[in-house]
């Protein structure tokens, strides 16, 4: 220790102030005089600056930032410089200055390498977290598969790679691909052999779970490099997109050779991103499958759009319940007669209960009625057969319906109407009077025997027969909020509909009921108007004579 003290010369005064033990200090320290020469250097500082011995110029042995800091410290005097920072070799250092009386400065050096690495990592991590949060909200916003694929490759190129190719499992013999380079997304459908890209087949199978892998750019097939990718491929990573139990696809990320290759932390990050994209993509696929099934079911269950048949107008309107699990109770159908002289059979009904069970029962009724069409001459007989087909020992779920057999005669339309336990059809005369059809009968599907009475009605030009479900009359609302629409309001509304075309009658009733309901909950609502037209129709609408109309 004494040798250390003995070795100090010109900086005596300073050394006495900082104490003799400074040479043993755990921090590197060096003393530099006002002219920039190294006066003293302790053991640790000597490790950092091996060329620095007392007498050498600081500028020859230390980095510029320290030389510059020293100059400012000397010039500015006490308090001018507290701490300067900079890199030196592999280290990041902070240098703290203590000014001596003779203008010399003791520089205490603190190694901040780990801290600055940690801070950089943190910044990267924060950016990545922000990116992932943003990516998730964008990816999850759309349940459309193509949009989701587009977003995944766009986001991947924005942050991870120069180009990205998303490969999804084969649809038929082709694999749908989305690729992005320079912000432009292209969708393709490609016949490809997943085995040609190492790791791709496993990623697309989703089992066994595979990590993402670096692959040799040289083995990349042509389809995997998007058009517009500038320059040779430098590095490639294939990352599986894990779905919910099913593989959603794989993401191929490409970097140009003039870019740094993927490092380990980036590869982990890519995997986390892929997990989010995969989750979003599989949600979109699941939605597509579900909605496809629902759409197919609905197409079966939803009423047909109606038009003129053999000189009679048919129009229907259907509004499903606001209560989604309660949809499926009402239905209507029109079975056109074979020729102008034959009867057309219209049916409107309401199945007890809601949801899938009701939908199944509705489907059964509609298909059974289709099969029984040749027997429509006798409504009573047809209803007995339908009743027999629907009876079940397990439950008493029933349906109510109205059958209308319709035939245009020269000036008027002849209707045979039968209610099977259903609200009675209303007849709107040309003068605006409204009457219930004189039919009655038993509901269908719950009792061993059913009976029914059929009414015959003639409709003159501009006259309408309205079939409806109780969703109309039992709709709750009105200006005071809780009254039933009821029979009286329906009949008053219909009185204004004399002379209107069938679609206009349906639209009018639907509008009034919707206005009545306002924002209240409601049941299924179905209406059908059967009208004798006042004038001849545009035949082009029937599709018989494309492009022209006939008298």
């Amino acid at each position: 220790m004494t040798s250390v003290e003995g070795s100090s010369r010109s900086a005596r005064g300073l050394l006495s102030s900082v104490g003799a033990s400074w040479m043993r200090a755990p921090y590197p320290a060096l003393v530099v005089d006002a002219l920039g020469s190294v006066v003293e250097i302790n053991a640790r500082a000597a490790d950092l600056f091996p060329a620095a011995v007392p007498g050498t110029a600081l500028a020859e042995v230390a980095p510029d930032w320290l030389v510059d800091g020293h100059r400012r410290a000397v010039r500015g005097g006490s308090g001018a410089v507290d701490t300067v920072r900079g890199r030196h070799g592999p280290w990041t250092l902070a240098a703290h200055a203590t000014l001596g009386a003779g203008g010399e400065v003791v520089w205490w050096l603190v190694d901040e390498t780990d801290r600055s690495l940690a801070e950089a990592a943190l910044r990267t991590e924060q950016e990545r977290t922000a990116f992932l949060a943003d990516a998730s909200s964008r990816l999850l916003a759309s349940l459309n598969v193509e949009r989701c694929m587009e977003l995944a490759v766009e986001l991947a190129t924005a942050y991870l790679a120069d180009a990205a190719v998303l490969v999804t499992p084969a649809a038929g013999k082709r694999h749908p691909l989305a690729s992005c380079v320079g912000g432009a997304v292209v969708h393709r459908s490609v016949r490809l052999d997943p085995a040609t890209v190492p790791g791709l087949a496993e990623a697309l199978r989703g089992f066994p779970p595979v990590p993402s892998r670096w692959i040799d750019p040289a083995v990349l097939p042509e389809w995997a490099v998007p058009d517009g990718f500038a320059g040779p491929v430098g590095s490639v990573v294939v990352t599986p997109l894990p779905g919910h139990g099913v593989p959603a696809g794989a993401l191929i990320l490409l970097r140009r050779s003039d870019h740094a290759a993927f490092d380990a932390s980036e590869e982990v990050f890519a995997r986390v991103f892929a997990a989010r994209a995969g989750a979003a993509l599989s949600a979109a696929r699941l939605y597509r499958e579900q909605s496809g099934i629902t759409a197919a079911l609905m197409a079966e269950l939803l009423p047909p759009s109606l038009r003129q048949v053999h000189g009679v107008e048919f129009a229907g309107g259907y509004r499903t319940s606001t209560d989604t699990e309660r949809v499926g109770g009402d239905f209507y159908d029109v079975h056109p007669g074979a020729g102008p002289g034959d009867e057309t059979l219209a049916v409107l009904g309401d199945v007890c209960g809601k949801g899938l069970e009701a939908a199944v029962l509705t489907g059964k009724i509609r298909s059974t009625l289709q099969a029984l069409l040749p027997l429509a001459d006798d409504h009573q007989h047809l209803l007995s057969l339908l009743n027999g087909a629907l009876l079940s020992s397990r439950h008493t779920r029933f349906a109510t319906l109205v059958l209308a057999s319709v035939r245009r005669r020269s000036g008027a339309t002849r209707l045979r109407l039968t209610s099977a336990g259903h609200p009675l059809p209303l007849i709107v005369r040309a003068d605006g009077t409204v009457r219930e059809a004189a039919t009655s009968g038993t509901l269908i599907g719950a009792l061993p025997e059913v009976r029914a009475h059929t009414a015959e009605v003639d409709l003159g030009p501009g006259e309408t027969c309205l079939l409806f479900t109780d969703g109309v009359t039992e709709a709750r609302g009105g200006p005071l909020g809780d009254a039933m629409f009821g029979d009286a309001r329906l009949q008053a509304a219909l009185a204004e509909c004399a002379g209107m075309p069938a679609e206009a009658v349906v639209e009018r009733i639907q509008m009034l009921v919707a206005a009545w309901i306002g924002d209240n909950r409601h049941d299924d609502i179905a209406v059908m108007a059967i009208t004798t037209p006042r004038t001849t129709h545009l035949a082009a609408v029937d599709g018989r004579t494309p492009g022209r109309y006939t008298a």
Partner: protein, 369 residues
């Protein structure tokens, strides 16, 4: 088309077709209606011009005639039905060219609660003829149904139509929900104001005053909004923070009841009303509250005063003085005395009624039938 004679001829053809279609609609003669438009098409008129200058023109006139009490509700509905069939027949006769690549896919729909589907349908037909692939969802599309459709089809743009200002809150939900999917929204219809101010207020990506302007805008394309960006109502409409809108909306039933009770007290004649007359009166009061709450929503007094002015015209066309509306407004002022914005709108509304000199004016369509 730059030839002046051709333009003049076109003009004459369209004028003639309009007159013929108007006559056919008055006669409720669908055959003659078809003849009117096909004659124009045979004479070389463009499909778009026939749709917008003939069919839409006549439909507009029908609305004016109804407002002036020269057309019944039945005639109005019958006219709409005839126009629907004419449009269908035109589409059948002149199928649009198959979509070319650059023209994007468009979903056209009416806002929930909007029954006037014809303007949206005309736009759909115009876009089809300009080469877009179009899904027309029709009148009254509940927002969840619209969103489900968009998830399935992912169109480039959604075009939303609304004629009723009381549907602005529904339009707002639809706009933000569609934009959150990353799909831009173009809006149109009387509800958004004659200068599109309510479209801007609700954050729509674009607004068009008519179908041609809408088609021109869509031809240029709209940028996609950032998907997943969830906007709250109050982000667009900071005035909603005072909760007046939601309180008036929630208290609507009670407001209507109390106003009705107050009217009976003040106007002895009302006590002799039949049940149906009472219900009409209740409906009128409910309408006033609806328009008051939509004015609160948009924070635009003109929505309320405009409605009262329009209703005044409708009443006077039916020989009812507009001042019958005043006692209801006065009662609402009493009931809403703790709501400064409502009070302001009601005061302005009463002033508008008081200033009316009751000339025989022909009102524009666009409010509830």
């Amino acid at each position: 088309m730059t030839d002046t004679t051709a333009v003049e001829n076109d003009g004459a053809v369209l004028t003639h077709a309009r007159a013929a279609l108007w006559q056919a609609v008055c006669d409720r003669d669908e055959y003659a209606a078809g003849q009117a438009v096909f004659t124009a098409l045979d004479a070389g008129a463009a499909v778009e011009d026939v749709l917008l200058d003939v069919v839409a023109g006549v439909q507009h006139k029908v609305g004016r005639e109804w407002a002036a009490d020269r057309f019944t509700v039945a005639q109005e509905h019958a006219a709409t039905a005839i126009h629907d069939r004419v449009i269908a027949a035109m589409a059948h006769r002149a199928p649009p060219a198959p979509p070319r690549e650059p023209a994007g896919t468009v979903t056209v729909a009416c806002v929930d609660g909007e029954w006037h589907a014809l303007p949206a349908r005309l736009l759909a037909e115009v876009l089809r003829h300009r080469g877009h692939r179009v899904d027309f969802l029709g009148a009254q599309v509940p927002t969840p149904h619209l969103i489900a459709h968009l998830h399935r089809t992912a169109p480039d743009v959604v075009a939303l139509s609304s004629s009723l200002p009381v549907r602005l809150p529904d339009a707002h939900s639809a706009i933000t929900a569609v934009q959150a999917l990353g799909i831009p929204v173009l809006v149109g219809g009387a509800a958004f104001g004659d200068d599109g101010r309510h479209a801007r207020l609700l954050g729509a990506d674009a607004w068009a005053p008519d179908a041609r302007a809408a088609a021109d805008l869509l031809a240029r394309g709209l940028p996609r909004p950032v998907p997943g960006a969830i906007r709250q109502r109050v982000d667009d409409l900071p005035h909603l923070i005072d909760q007046e809108y939601s309180l008036v909306l929630r208290g609507k039933r009670q407001l209507v009841r109390d106003t009705l009770a107050g009217l009976e007290e003040r106007l002895p004649a009302m006590r002799a009303y039949t049940e149906a007359q009472r219900e009409r009166t209740a409906e009128d009061v409910a309408h006033i509250v609806d328009f008051l709450s939509c004015a609160l929503y948009a924070d635009d007094s003109r929505l309320f005063t405009g409605f009262l002015d329009w209703t005044g015209d409708i009443l006077e066309a039916r020989r009812v003085p507009a001042r019958v509306l005043d006692p209801g407004l006065a009662l609402l002022q009493d009931l809403l005395k703790d709501f400064p914005r409502s009070l302001d709108f009601l005061t302005r509304g009463r002033a508008v009624l008081a200033a009316r000199t009751a000339p025989a004016r022909v009102p524009e369509p666009g409010a509830p039938a």
